[in-house]
Symmetry: C2
Subunit: 153 residues, 2 copies
DNA sequence: CTAGATTGGTTTGTGCCACGAACTAACTAG
DNA sequence: CTAGTTAGTTCGTGGCACAAACCAATCTAG
């Protein structure tokens, strides 16, 4: 039972957490990336390029990503009024409900894992994690956006 | 600055941590999966099937994975003495040094992020994370193996 | 001992993800 | 009006992931 280092611990935990997400997403035939796409769009209607930045992907990758999601009726491309080259991507109703469902199940998973900790510990963990993320966001001048989005440097 | 929920926080943190890993791995033209492969092999010499279980992949996926790594001289297939159907996979010297390098850089990254927390907080976080992982491992009867390996249920 | 079942691995086909390079269309500066 | 930039798509390549089909070795019933 070699007590694992904090680095190992965080790596482990990260795999565990994202593994749950992946599993829940797979239940609805979503990949992690598709899920992140839906997550990002919950409160945004970005252009393709903004989306690429948000997801940390190449714009060409986003083309295909949105293609597939659009084919499934989860998102729509809306021609931008301001710039005729540009396209806005938004959730459809179907996409929105799907995103909500996956998020809920994932949340339940994580909550279940966290239930292994006594109340007090869970609270501490929560505030430490928040603190760390806030500090990191500040240190990198990055604005903290919500669920399912990685902080890219 | 909406204080994010613990679930969101953990998701964020996980993306952040694995994002670093991915970046460091990419510096050496490794994917996350390749890196996990090397990580798993640091102290094991499993069969293909064991490897599949360890990585949570299908055996057919592992075939290709090992193919590519072998082509790059990072791992070797060793015919099993015990069972002539079976193949053992092990690191080459090159694979071992590469794994060490990536691990070191990744560790530095995470350490740097953790440096944003005051000493006491970092220590608390460390023990909370360990505690959570241990509890989870116990709850699932899984033995806790080391770095870069997800706990599969 | 042998016929049938099981097991370990590879191969093949399909689809997603990711990138860079090349390209079109639209916007912007001068 | 022209030159250069920007937004997005397309194409080609390669890794990742799975299921299904397959082969060879091993096990097991009878």
């Amino acid at each position: 039972m070699a007590s694992l280092s904090i680095v190992d611990g965080l790596a482990q935990l990260s795999f565990l957490v994202l593994g749950r997400l992946e599993r829940r997403a797979a239940e609805h035939d979503l990949s992690i990336v598709q899920t992140r796409l839906l997550g990002v769009l919950r409160d945004r209607r970005p252009t393709m390029l903004e989306l690429a930045k948000l997801l940390g992907l190449d714009k060409s990758s986003v083309s295909g990503l949105v293609d597939r999601a659009e084919r499934r009726g989860l998102v729509t491309r809306i021609p931008s009024a301001a710039d005729r080259r540009s396209v806005l991507v938004g959730l459809t109703e179907q996409g929105r409900t799907l995103a909500a469902e996956v998020a809920a199940r994932f949340e339940a998973d994580v909550t279940e894992i966290l239930a292994l900790l006594p109340d007090a510990d869970r609270k501490s963990l929560s505030s430490l994690v928040s603190g760390l993320l806030v500090a990191h966001a500040r240190a990198n001048g990055v604005d903290l956006f919500d669920t399912l989005v990685p902080s890219h440097e």
